[in-house]
């Protein structure tokens, strides 16, 4: 199997996975009483109207009286053509609301991802180079601390210490400051720090253990014997092979934390990004927006897994395509 064929199959599989997820979501919604129908009934009853009639009208309005397969196809078409409906809570189309929120999420996600990807392997390799010294122990301790402390709890504590007691950072997130300004950097530094601490631990541990095998390899001995500087030796002969196995865990790790913690971190710090939008939609009972934001997160997960696998294929040319999982 050639590279092109493998990539095509892998992309096809990602499409199948997304289809399955959308189908499960539809099944979930179809099997439950629609909240807006119930709302209509309550509304009618409160206003002295006929609840039964209101339910019928609402069902007709939302197309719920059509057969299941027609609704399913409609749903699929809506999802894949990005017609995600109108958000009652935001009074704007769901896609617009999501698009607005993405920019706030990106403001802290991009620095966070860059820092994690840069610092994680660096500290891991450094830790391996100084194995069993106090530097290694400190790095290991930090990794475990970051891995174990719940992000939202850590965020609250840091907000208390630096926001309330020391007053170094603003407590309330301000949306009106320009994206590239000192004020924005100041209000985002703690969320980014919290997320980096949470995600860097696992990457540090993997790169430490992977690079430990390479630094005693014969090619390192040769490099040292030739008089290559330690920095160059580590950068070229240890870091590069370490990055290959790391790439299989990196995206998955980041995605898992992104999906879970961005929700919490945004609520704690009051950032009006995707996570907070999802939360508000849940609280405000806005079905379209809940659906839209969860679907967006899901698609991000599917695309992330796809990119991870493709990156691995390009980075490590040794494995044949035949005996590999899609």
């Amino acid at each position: 199997m050639g590279l092109a064929r493998y990539v095509a199959l892998r992309v096809g599989w990602a499409a199948v996975v997304s289809l399955i997820i959308v189908t499960v979501t539809f099944g979930l919604l179809a099997a439950a009483p629609n909240p807006s129908v119930q709302q209509a009934a309550t509304q009618a009853a409160l206003e002295g109207g006929n609840p039964q009639e209101a339910v019928e009208r609402e069902r007709q309005l939302r197309g719920l009286d059509e057969p299941l397969h027609v609704r399913y196809l409609d749903f699929l078409q809506g999802v894949y053509t990005l017609e995600w409906g109108w958000s009652e809570y935001r009074s704007q189309p769901v896609t617009t609301a999501l698009f607005d929120a993405v920019s706030y999420t990106a403001q802290y996600s991009i620095p966070w991802t860059i820092l994690t990807v840069l610092l994680g392997p660096l500290i891991g390799v450094y830790s391996a180079a100084n194995m069993y010294t106090w530097r290694d122990h400190a790095a290991t301790g930090f990794a475990f601390f970051g891995y174990a402390i719940p992000n939202f709890f850590f965020g609250i504590i840091l907000l208390l210490v630096f926001g309330v007691w020391l007053e170094w950072i603003p407590i309330v997130y301000r949306t009106e400051v320009p994206t590239f300004s000192l004020a924005n950097a100041r209000q985002l530094v703690i969320p980014v720090f919290v997320l980096v601490t949470g995600s860097i631990g696992a990457i540090m541990r993997v790169s430490r253990n992977e690079s430990a095998a390479f630094q005693n390899a014969t090619f390192m001995k040769t490099a040292k014997a030739k008089g290559v500087s330690p920095l160059r030796a580590y950068a070229y002969h240890v870091m590069r092979p370490t990055l290959v196995p790391l790439s299989t865990t990196l995206v998955g790790q980041l995605l898992a934390i992104f999906l879970g913690s961005s929700l919490l971190v945004e609520v704690v710090f009051g950032i009006p990004g995707l996570g907070r939008l999802t939360f508000n939609a849940l609280v405000a009972q806005d079905t379209n927006l809940v659906l839209g934001s969860t679907l967006l997160f899901t698609f991000l997960a599917v695309v992330g897994n796809l990119l991870e696998d493709l990156a691995f294929t390009v980075l490590d040319p040794r494995i044949s395509y035949d005996d590999r999982d899609l």
Binding site: W13, A148, F153, I157, V206
Partner: protein, 415 residues
């Protein structure tokens, strides 16, 4: 086996082909082991009670109250304090506890030599020992706490009491339970870790939260282990299209964002602790299945499995007697490293106010104290630190177990 040769015709010297293999092997599969019998014996009353609860107890009655009325034994029941309702989650918890006792603790007791061997290897890891001690505290507290301590109660007058040994300005406290000196309210032993705004004892809240965490840890782990081990071994052994389909299913399960899916379920149906456990188990077994499959494949290449097959053992017997026991230790390790994720997810949901509001979990307590953080930080700090230490302890324990049972797999733990 040796039935086609006539034993009496041979010499008396011990010979390989004279061993009575039928006696050694026993009758295959039909006989239950001692632990299984004990398990069945102990689980039967629980299931009977659950069945009684399901069919005979009304929605407004408590389980034991109805049982006492039906058996005319109100007296003894009252003296024992048995008058409370049992939720479905509690039955599941009891059953998983019995599984844990009869299939994990009892075998360790029955095989002292191998237990001592594991213990020697495990003991070298100091952080892991501390972690084990901490988890035993959480386990004991979670199991016995609700029996010893009565549930924390709202008492607005006793709100914002400081923990023992600390004092806060009197103005922040509605009515100081302890002594007031120089306008500062001191903490009392009545509320060792202080109280929330509503006057709930934080210590009691933390202990009751241990119960919730233990329930989540035990039930999800059992469900995940059940599905994961079944799918993994079946997939490894059946091969072909079964393997292919199972592994594709694992891919799907792994790429499902569980927390978001749970939010969707919660939004559509509303969800309590039981639903949380079910959803996270349904989407949590992917990693375990993949891991068990690779382990089972490597074990099935071993010589003793080939030997077993040559002597006529069925696939079912090989899987049950050789493959699963030989992968069990690494499966347990892998499961230990899964638990923190479940605990964290529950705390996150409870913190957001999207969890089961009827249960007193650590996340609920953290959420309750968040608005009072500046002058009553103990409400957030106590449950938060306990949650942090528990997650840390599970991680250390998992790593140490991995080193103890499988020296080759050190790097796997950190992936």
């Amino acid at each position: 086996m040796s039935t086609d040769t006539d034993p009496s015709a041979e010499t008396d010297a011990p010979r390989f082909d004279k061993v009575d293999w039928e006696a050694c092997a026993g009758d295959r599969g039909a006989r239950l082991s001692l632990n299984t019998k004990l398990f069945v014996l102990t689980v039967a009353p629980i299931l009977a009670l659950a069945g009684y609860d399901w069919y005979a107890v009304g929605a407004r009655e408590t389980t034991f109250g109805a049982l006492a009325a039906a058996t005319n034994l109100q007296g003894p029941f009252d003296t024992l304090g048995l008058d409370f309702a049992i939720a479905t989650v509690d039955y599941a918890f009891a059953v998983t506890l019995l599984l844990f006792v009869w299939y994990l603790v009892a075998p360790l007791y029955q095989h002292p030599r191998i237990t001592a061997y594991y213990w020697r290897r495990f003991r070298r890891n100091r952080p892991a020992l501390v972690s084990l001690a901490w988890l035993l505290v959480v386990f004991g507290g979670g199991l016995l706490g609700p029996l010893v301590l009565n549930a924390p109660e709202q008492n607005v007058l006793a709100g914002h009491q400081p923990p023992v040994g600390l004092s806060v300005a009197d103005a922040n406290v509605a009515e100081c339970v302890g002594e007031v000196t120089d306008g500062r309210c001191a903490g009392t032993w009545k509320y060792p870790l202080g109280t929330t705004r509503g006057g709930l004892g934080v210590f009691k809240g933390v202990v009751y939260g241990m119960t919730i965490s233990m329930k989540i840890a035990f039930i999800t782990t059992t469900l995940v282990a059940g599905v994961g081990i079944t799918v993994g071994t079946v997939s490894a052994y059946a091969g072909g299209w079964v393997d292919e389909v199972a592994m594709r299913a694992v891919d799907i399960v792994l790429s499902f964002p569980t927390l978001l899916f749970f939010l969707l379920v919660l939004y559509v149906y509303g969800a309590g602790l039981g639903m949380f456990i079910v959803v996270f188990s349904i989407f949590g077994w992917g990693g375990t299945a993949r891991y068990v499959r690779s382990k089972a494949l490597s074990v099935s290449e071993e010589e003793f499995v080939k030997a077993g097959r040559l002597s006529g053992a069925t696939t079912r017997r090989i899987v049950r007697r050789h493959v699963v026991p030989n992968t069990a230790s690494s499966i347990i390790t892998q499961l230990t490293l899964l638990i923190p994720g479940f605990l964290l997810a529950e705390a996150q949901l409870a913190f957001l106010g999207l969890g089961d509001s009827s249960i007193a979990s650590w996340g609920q307590l953290i959420a309750a104290g968040r608005s009072d953080l500046t002058f009553a930080p103990w409400i957030v700090l106590a449950p938060g630190l306990v949650l942090f230490l528990t997650i840390l302890a599970f991680n250390f324990l998992g790593d140490a177990l991995l080193d103890a049972v499988d020296p080759e797999a050190t790097t796997e733990a950190d992936r």
